[in-house]
């Protein structure tokens, strides 16, 4: 009893708390989700902005970049050229920020937090406090990373994969000094944040589903978030250990990754370490990370596409199975990033086979999306457009994955722009589109107002064209053999002939970047001035649309709705409307029930009798508690 009292004190406190407890150190999952979202948008502007700067360098190598001096300071030299080491720092920071801060924290942090309780029918996360810590660890990680941009020696610059020895030896490049230390500290905090979040998502999904919300009635969004959290929980600790070993090598003279090195005119004492070991550890996280980024996006688009096709998602169970299949397989394909590191060719063979197996569930997902559109009644909301765009990008990027998974072909393509094109389409852009789809779709729930659709269309078409214009030509440059992470392509004759295409890509990148401001404007404007959202603007089946326009702490006023059916009863034959939300019992829809559902309806009636009794009892206890 004392336990419940305590809980309710806390509850009250939240309701009438001050600004700090309501908006800053809040434990409410909806507020935390928004904190993640705002932070991710902030980082996205920085991360994409960085890519624009280094695209300027690549597309216009002779241009005078002095106008960037106010931002970049000494990294622009007297002749207006970007410093070549800082170029690498930008690339590294861009990769790190986009992958971890924007698409990991921004996607899972925002949407798992926001949607899990709302879609499974829970008052909040399993542990609101841990959830708050999760955000604040992320924020702290961000502060450190941000700070590292301004230090004398520059931020980490060995690539987002931070392979040692480059990242271990400050002699090797300035960014491997303090910048790298800060990178590692920041990522350590980030990993803690991800783990705190992940544990919460998992336990919430397992333990806090409302009555009737069995696993085979979960919306695919929740399935995706759930599996993503599991992947994160299993893989991030490995990155943590890799980072820890690297810290030891850097600061305490150990030799986990270092051996036989002569640098800066001196032979280092380290012997017996393996630089390749680090890559195994890194990619054991790194590959699953691709799916950590992608699965939530696919989950979001599943929901958006089903809703706006007015049609059940095609192959619900196949979708779940492929999510699980992808999750399991994602742990045993990591060495496809390492075909040319000199590892045993037989190992290469094994990883080639395993990698191509993972293409099968991915293909199944793509086909299921397309078939969901088939014979649908499609409503093109901005979210729907971005979801369709996502499928296109996912397919195009996924297909070039088949090239790269074949070890022999990868000999030629590894670490060229072909890879840059591949992963930007399949993971970067596809996930980014998923995130935008999610924002457009759930904005009305988050802020109680509608975003402007016309601006959304404009945003989608510019971004969609832009993304293809930026990343597709990179395949060509990659086929021509141009290596990635090159500051300049003019230094080298066989690779020096693509100036015009690089210029085109850079121009497209700049325009696409500016188009994003339309979104930012729409977002901010609609938050305050948007049309008030109806309760269920997209006529969707899931539970979040049964909450009030501005759901308070606890999400539902009164009892949490019970769930009777799967979330995809769209356009059911015989039904009055073209959607039947999850909380509508079969007993209320005799006209559209399938034979086995008719039986369930009978069953429901008995259950409901009991349910009412239980509800009454719990109502009494809550009332009592409110009065304490």
């Amino acid at each position: 009893m004392s336990d419940t009292t305590h809980h309710d004190d806390h509850h009250d406190h939240e309701h009438h708390g001050n600004f700090w407890t309501n908006y800053i150190f809040s434990t409410d999952h909806k507020v935390i989700a928004k904190q993640f979202l705002f932070t991710a948008i902030f980082w996205a502007m920085i991360g994409v902005g960085m890519s624009v700067i280094f695209r300027l360098q690549l597309g216009f190598p002779d241009a005078d970049l002095s106008f960037l001096k106010p931002i970049l300071g000494k990294w622009i030299d007297a002749t207006g050229k970007l410093d070549k080491e800082f170029y690498l720092a930008l690339v590294t920071m861009h990769g790190t920020i986009m992958v971890f801060f924007v698409l990991t924290a921004g996607l899972s942090g925002t949407f798992s937090n926001y949607l899990i309780p709302l879609q499974i029918g829970a008052v909040d996360m399993a542990s609101g406090f841990m959830n708050m810590l999760s955000y604040w660890f992320f924020a702290a990680a961000g502060v450190i990373m941000f700070y590292s941009l301004f230090i004398e020696t520059g931020p980490a610059s060995g690539g987002w994969v931070i392979y040692p020895p480059l990242s271990a030896l400050p002699q090797a490049m300035p960014g491997s000094g303090l910048g790298m230390t800060l990178w590692l500290s920041s990522m350590a905090l980030f990993i803690i944040s991800t783990l705190l979040g992940g544990i919460n998502y998992i336990s919430t999904v397992i333990n806090m589903r409302t009555r009737g919300m069995s696993f085979n009635r979960l919306p695919l969004t929740i399935w995706a978030f759930f599996i993503t959290a599991v992947i994160g929980l299993l893989s991030f600790p490995v990155l943590f250990s890799a980072a820890l070993l690297l810290i030891f090598d850097r600061s305490f003279g150990t030799s986990f990754f270092l051996s036989d090195i002569y640098i800066g005119g001196e032979a280092l004492p380290n012997q017996g370490g393996s630089a390749i070991l680090f890559q195994h550890l890194f990619w054991f996280l790194g590959h699953p990370e691709v799916y950590i980024v992608l699965l939530p996006a696919l989950g979001i688009s599943s929901e958006v596409i089903a809703t706006n096709s007015r049609k059940p998602i095609f192959g619900y169970h196949a979708m779940i199975l492929s999510i699980i299949g992808i999750a399991v397989l994602s742990f045993i394909v990591w060495a496809h990033h390492m075909f040319v590191t000199g590892m045993d060719p037989f190992l290469g063979t094994i990883f080639m086979f395993l990698t191509l197996i993972i293409a099968v569930p991915s293909a199944v997902k793509a086909f299921n999306y397309i078939t969901t559109l088939w014979k649908g009644n499609l409503v093109f909301t901005p979210a729907m457009l971005f979801s369709i765009g996502l499928i296109s990008l996912f397919i195009v990027g996924g297909l070039t994955g088949i090239h790269l998974a074949s070890a022999a072909i990868d000999i030629q393509l590894h670490d060229t722009y072909f890879v840059v094109a591949h992963f930007h389409l399949v993971m970067g852009s596809a996930s980014f589109f998923g995130m935008l789809a999610g924002i457009y779709h759930w904005f009305p729930k988050m802020f109680g107002r509608m975003m402007d659709a016309k601006m959304g269309y404009f945003h989608f078409w510019t971004t969609f064209i832009g993304v293809y214009a930026i990343f597709f030509p990179m395949h060509f440059i990659g086929v021509a053999g141009f290596p990635r992470r090159y500051y300049s392509h003019t230094a080298f004759e066989p690779f020096g002939l693509f100036t015009d295409l690089n210029m085109f890509i850079s121009t497209a990148a700049i325009l696409t970047f500016f188009a994003q401001f339309v979104f930012v404007f729409n977002f901010v404007y609609s938050m305050f001035k948007g049309r008030l959202a109806p309760a269920n603007p997209w006529k969707s089946n899931t539970l979040e649309w049964t909450t009030p326009r501005f759901p308070g702490h606890g999400n539902w006023v009164g009892a949490i709705p019970q769930v009777f059916r799967w979330p995809y009863d769209y356009s059911k034959p015989g039904a009055k409307d073209d959607f039947i939300p999850q909380h509508i019992p079969y007993s209320e829809t005799p006209e559209s029930n399938l034979p086995f559902e008719q039986k369930l309806a009978e069953f429901e009636k008995q259950e409901q009798q009991e349910g009412i009794r239980i509800q009454k009892e719990s109502q009494i206890t809550t009332d009592n508690n409110e009065n304490v």
Binding site: P165, T341, F476
Partner: protein
């Protein structure tokens, strides 16, 4: 000229965007959008516009991408591989590209035409199709078979490439360091002497360990990677500081250089640069005359990673042999150094100089 072109494309892009926006605005004016909730019409005119735009997108963007790709293919597609295994890699690449292109076209026709065909109509209902087992089994099994076929062909090539090098292969050591390459040949005995990173200094840059291995004495170094035409070559690759990667794009060769873990890659060069130039002239490549083999670094290794190149050349077998035999050993050129280092086993013919 190019700048103009880019500017034109940029302007075109902006105009296109403005146009799209304008269309939407006009539509909005013409048919004031109701709340999506409103009973009578759930969607406005923009639903149709969006669905048509997918088709436009399909034709305009993809067609221009592929048109550009085809018209400029000479520029982007490397000359036919100058190594035996490279031909097979290229075959695999184009085979995979053909298969994936087919899948791309099929899926994108469906994906970009369905929006128009099945766009929202007020009095229509979507068809309730939760799943279809036959279809789902079919599209699980068909990709599985196609992928298996691709993997198995890929695997045969991979295992050929990674088979041990033939006995008669010429051994060449390639060592990467910030930011250059060092190339060492085995000299008369063809054997590359042992090294020890502790022996590295500004003179002995690759750390030849003369005391541990006498076969170092006839090794010579050269400032270019010279390869014999038609003879298998085994590159023994290492690094002395950070990771690098040996990339010979025209030979379809890539292998990382790892400090503390020597790696290797063998292949057979089949064409001299002159041979390639001749081929390029035949297809009217405007850059044929500038053709030059290069070795590039493809693993980020620091600030000048982008400039870490070495020239590569392929010589006819006899020419190569003549050059090889005429090169003076590194030790012979650096006797003073050896003496200064108090190396004990200096051969008498050198020591007497």
């Amino acid at each position: 000229m190019n700048g103009l072109l880019i500017a034109a494309v940029g302007v075109l892009f902006l105009v296109l965007m403005a146009l799209i926006y304008r269309v939407f605005m006009l539509v909005r004016v013409a048919k004031d959008t109701k709340e999506p909730n409103a009973k009578d019409s759930r969607v406005g005119m923009s639903n149709k516009v969006n669905s048509i735009l997918f088709i436009v997108f399909f034709f305009v963007l993809f067609a221009s991408i592929f048109a550009y790709g085809f018209s400029e293919k000479v520029k982007y597609i490397l000359p036919e591989s100058s190594s035996i295994h490279g031909i097979e890699i290229d075959f695999l690449f184009w085979l995979t590209t053909a298969v994936t292109f087919f899948v791309f076209i099929i899926t994108h026709i469906l994906l970009f035409f369905f929006p128009y065909v099945y766009r929202y109509k007020e009095h229509k209902r979507a068809t309730f199709i939760p799943h279809n087992n036959q279809l789902e089994i079919a599209w699980t099994i068909v990709p599985a078979i196609v992928l298996t076929a691709l993997v198995v062909t890929g695997w045969t090539v991979w295992s050929d490439i990674t088979d041990p090098a033939p006995e008669d292969a010429l051994h060449i050591e390639v060592m990467g360091h910030q930011f250059a390459w060092k190339v060492r040949y085995g000299g008369k005995d063809g054997k590359i002497g042992k090294f020890n990173y502790m022996k590295i200094d500004p003179t002995n840059q690759v750390g030849m360990d003369f005391e541990a291995d006498e076969s170092n004495y006839d090794d010579f170094m050269y400032n270019e990677l010279r390869l014999p035409k038609g003879r298998p070559v085994l590159l023994k690759i290492r690094s002395r500081d950070v990771l690098h990667s040996v990339f010979l794009p025209h030979f379809r060769v890539k292998m990382d250089a790892v400090p503390g873990m020597p790696t290797q890659f063998w292949f057979t060069p089949t064409k001299t640069a002159e041979d390639v130039k001749k081929e390029l002239r035949e297809i009217n490549d405007p850059n044929a005359e500038a053709f030059q083999y290069k070795l590039a670094c493809t693993e980020i290794c620091g600030g000048s990673h982008f400039a870490m190149f070495m020239n590569v050349s392929v010589l006819e077998a006899d020419e190569f042999q003549k050059w090889y035999d005429s090169e003076e050993a590194w030790a012979a050129k650096n006797v003073d150094y050896l003496k200064e280092k108090k190396i004990k086993n200096i051969p008498s013919n050198l020591a007497s100089n």
